[in-house]
Symmetry: C2
Subunit: 530 residues, 2 copies
Amino acid sequence: MMEWDAWGVAENRQTLSPQVKALLASALGIPEREPVSRDESDVTLSPSSLADEQLAALGDLLGAEHVSTEHGVRLRHSGGKSTPDLLRRRSTGVQDAPDAIVYPASHDEVSALLTLCAERSIAVVPFGGGTSVVGGLDPERGEFTAVIAVDLRRMSGLVSLDEVSGTAVLLPGTTGPEAEELLGAKGFSLGHFPQSFRFASIGGFAATRSSGQASSGYGRFDAMVDAIRIATPRGDLNLGRAPASAAGPDLRQLFLGSEGALGIITEVTVRVHRLPEETWYQGWSFPSFDAGAQALRTLVQSDAAPTVLRLSDEAESGLNLALAKDIGGKNPAAGVLAITTVEGTHGHVTAKSAEVAAVLAAAGGTALGDEPAKAWDHGRFDAPYLRDALIDAGAVVETLETATSWQNLANLRAAVTTALAEALGAQGTPPLVLCHISHTYRTGASLYFTVVCAAAEDAFTQWGRAKKAAGDAIVAAGGTITHHHAVGRDHQPWLADEVGELGIEILHAVKKTVDPRGILNPGKLIPAQG
Amino acid sequence: MMEWDAWGVAENRQTLSPQVKALLASALGIPEREPVSRDESDVTLSPSSLADEQLAALGDLLGAEHVSTEHGVRLRHSGGKSTPDLLRRRSTGVQDAPDAIVYPASHDEVSALLTLCAERSIAVVPFGGGTSVVGGLDPERGEFTAVIAVDLRRMSGLVSLDEVSGTAVLLPGTTGPEAEELLGAKGFSLGHFPQSFRFASIGGFAATRSSGQASSGYGRFDAMVDAIRIATPRGDLNLGRAPASAAGPDLRQLFLGSEGALGIITEVTVRVHRLPEETWYQGWSFPSFDAGAQALRTLVQSDAAPTVLRLSDEAESGLNLALAKDIGGKNPAAGVLAITTVEGTHGHVTAKSAEVAAVLAAAGGTALGDEPAKAWDHGRFDAPYLRDALIDAGAVVETLETATSWQNLANLRAAVTTALAEALGAQGTPPLVLCHISHTYRTGASLYFTVVCAAAEDAFTQWGRAKKAAGDAIVAAGGTITHHHAVGRDHQPWLADEVGELGIEILHAVKKTVDPRGILNPGKLIPAQG
C-alpha cells in the first residue's frame, strides 16, 4: 500500500540533488525551504456515514475482518495520486474518504457485494493499486448516502497459464510486479510496464486502457486482453472467446476503459510471451525533436518498431529528465535523446535491432551506445518520487498526456505547451514544459508533458487553471483528451467532445443496463446528461 | 454488380477441369450432368409492398432516378452469396426481395433517408458489395410493411489521404479494387485482401469485422480503422480521434461489427502503408497439419509474423485446393502446404524473410521455393467461382470458419470436422471436409473449413442441418461462432452463447438508443429478447 500523502513507499522517497535544487532556484525562482513534516493523525476525515445496519451487512457478507473504517485505511483509499490529490491530502480542513473499505476474496463475493450495495443504496468505488491520476478513485457518493471502496488486493494471483497459447488468467488485484514474478517463475512475462507498474493492478490496467513503456513491442494493455470476466449488479459477463472474432460488436471494448462505472473486472485473460532471451539497448541523438519524431515515424511505418521507442524533446533532453539518476546533469545526446530496446529470441533481436539501427541511422540518428538506454531503463519507474520531492520543495509538478496523428503532432505539442505556459504565466508562475513521445503507432503517437513551476499559495486552483487550459487546447487541436491516463473525474468535461452527445447517451444506456441503480463509481467517466 | 444467381461476373465463371469432374464422381459419387440454364426473368419476386406515397417520398429525397423497383435490381439485392442464398435464388417459387433499392450520394442524404424511413415505418438493409455469406442482407421487414436496400455504390471514393500519418478517408461504397487503385495512384495500399476483395466494400469491411489474407502483416480490418462516421436515426457519430485513446470504452468497437443494425457507416479513416518495394514469396512443406500449426505458432509467438501466413491441412493439401488453377493436381508439398509472403521496404523484407525462413526451417519446414506461394497468390480470389461450378455440377459446397487458442486448435478442428461428417453422412451424403489456417495471432488462429458433398434433393435443408451441427460443435468446443464472416441471420442462434444474455441486453440497449424504432436491418445480428 502506498503512502497516504505521496507516491510509493517511504524508503524510496527521494531527496533533491544539489543540481536540481539549483535549477529550482535559477529557472523557477523557488527559494530553498525546510521540508514540512506531516502526520496522518493530523488529517481530519469526514465521519463515516455508513449506518450500523449497512456495516453489519457488509461484515456478514465478507467477514468483519474484511471491512475497515479505520482512519489510516480510509485515508489511504481517499483518492489517487495526481498532484491535486496530493495537494488536497496535504491540506488542512476536513477531507472526504470512503465510509468503509471492503476486501472481497472472489468473483462470487464481488457479485454478492454489488447486489447488497444496490439493495442498500451504497455507492461503490473499485480500488486496485490506487494509482489513478485522474480522480478515478474519489469517494463520490452520487445520490447515495454512503460510499465504500472495494479494495481488490485479496483477489491476487495467477489462476492459470496456457503455455501453448501464451495466455494467462490473472486476478484483478495482482500488481505489476506480482504478475511478472508469477509469470517469470514459469518463463513468461506480460510485458506491461507503465510508470505505475510497481503498484498498479491488472484490473486497473484493464479498466483504464493502460499503456506501458514497451507498448511499441507488446502493445497497449487493451490489445493484450483476450478475455475478461466482469461482475455487475445485473449479473456476470464473460467476454472474449478467441484471439479475434467477427461475432458482432466487441463488447470487451466497452469494459476495457470502463473505469469501475460498468462493473468490477474479476478476471483478465492476457497474452503473455516467453521471457526474452536477450535485450538490445541503444540510445540515439537527433538534431531536433521534429527530426527525431520523423525518424520514429519512419521506423514504425516501415514495420520495424522495436520493443521500447521513446523520444524526449529539447527541453526534456536539456534537463536530462529521461535519465532519472542524473537529472540536470549532462545530456548524452548532442541534440534530443531517443531510447530504443529490442527484446525477444536471439534471432529476433539480431534481425530487428539491425533493422532498427539501419532505419534510424538513415533518418539522421546518431547511435550513442547502450548506456543512455540502460540508464533510462534503470530509473524508469522513479519519476513520481521526484515529483513528490519537488512538490515538497515548493514546486507544482504534474504530467498530462494525449495522442494524435503524426501529421498533427507538432501542432498539438505547440498548442498544449503554449496553453500551459500562458495559463501559468498569467498567474505569475511561468512553467517549464517538457515533452516526450513514449507510445508510437503507424498513424500517430502519444505526447507526454511534464510541467514544473513555482507553487502559488493556492496551488490546487493554480494547477486547475492550467489543466483546464491544456484540456481545452488538446480538444481544440484535435488530440484525444487522454492516451493512457483514462477519464475519471478530471477529464470528464471533455468526453462529450470526444465521443459526441449520442456517444454519451450510448454510455448511459449501457450503464443503465448493467447498473440500473447507478451505484458503480458515481461521478466518474460518464458525464451527467444535460 | 455481381450476377444474380452466382458469385462475381459472368466472364469469370469457371468450368470444371476433367480432374475435378473425375474427383466428383469417384470421391463423392456425383454423376456428370448437363448444366441447367437459368434466366432472371424466370424468377418470381414478391411484389413491392411500398405504398406510392412512400416511394414518392424516397424519390423526392434522393431523385427518382436513384430509387429502383425494377425486377433485376430487386433480384440482385435480395440477399448475399452464401450457398443457401444461391440455392434459394436458383429455386422456383416466389422469392423475397427489397421493395425498393435506393442510392444515396452523401452522408447527409443517408441521414435524411434514415429519418424518412423512421417516420414512415420502412425497414432499411444497408448494402455494400453484396458479398455477405451469413444472411446479413436478407430483406427482412421485421414489424414493418416495407423494406428497402440502401445501396452505397454512389458513395465511393477517396476523400483524403494523409501521407505523413498514413491514413486515408474512404467512402463506404468504395470496393476493394477501387480503394487499391485510388491509393495505389498515390503510392499507397490498404493491404486488406479478403476473398471477397473484388466486390466487397469499405463500409462492409467495417460493418462485419472483415479479415484479409494479409492479416498477419497488416492486421484485421477492425485494427486498421482509426475513425468512423456513422449516420443513425438519432443523429451522427464521429468516433476515433487518435491512433489510440484511454477516453473510456472504445465506442468504435460497437460500430465495427454492427452489421447495419446500429447505423450506416458513411466514412472510414483507415491506416494505409506505402506500396511495398518488394515481396518475398515462399512455399513450405510440413509433415502434418499439427506440425505445421506448431511451426506457425512458434513463428508468430517469436514476433516474426510475415505478411501472409497460411497452412492447409492434409485433405486440402491432398486436393491441392490452395492452388486454384491446379485443383486435384499434384500437391507440391510432400506433406501439408504452407504459404508465406513478406512485403515492405527492401530492408524490412531482407530482415524479416530471413527471420521467417530460419524459424520455419528450425520448426521442421521444408522450403519449396516461390512457385507455390505465387500460384496461391494468383488464384486467391477465385474459390467462389469454383464453388458455383461445383454447385452447378450437383455438389453442395460451402465454407465456414471459426477461431480459437493454439491450445484448443486441434480439438476444435476435430470437433467441427466430425460434426460435419456425421451430419452429412447421416443424410447419405458423406462430405469431404478440408481445412486451413489463414489468420494467426500470438494466442491462437482461425480455422477455415470447406465442405463438399453430393447435393440431396432438398440441398437447402441438407446444408442447414450440417450448418447447425457445425455451429453447435464450434460453441461446444469453445470456438468463436465466426472469425471474419460476421453474424447476420445465420449465426444469430449462437450469439447469446458467445456474449451472454446480459451481452445481448447491452446490444439491445445500444440499438434502442440509436435506432428506437428498430428500422435498421431487422432480424440481423441481435437476437430477439426471450
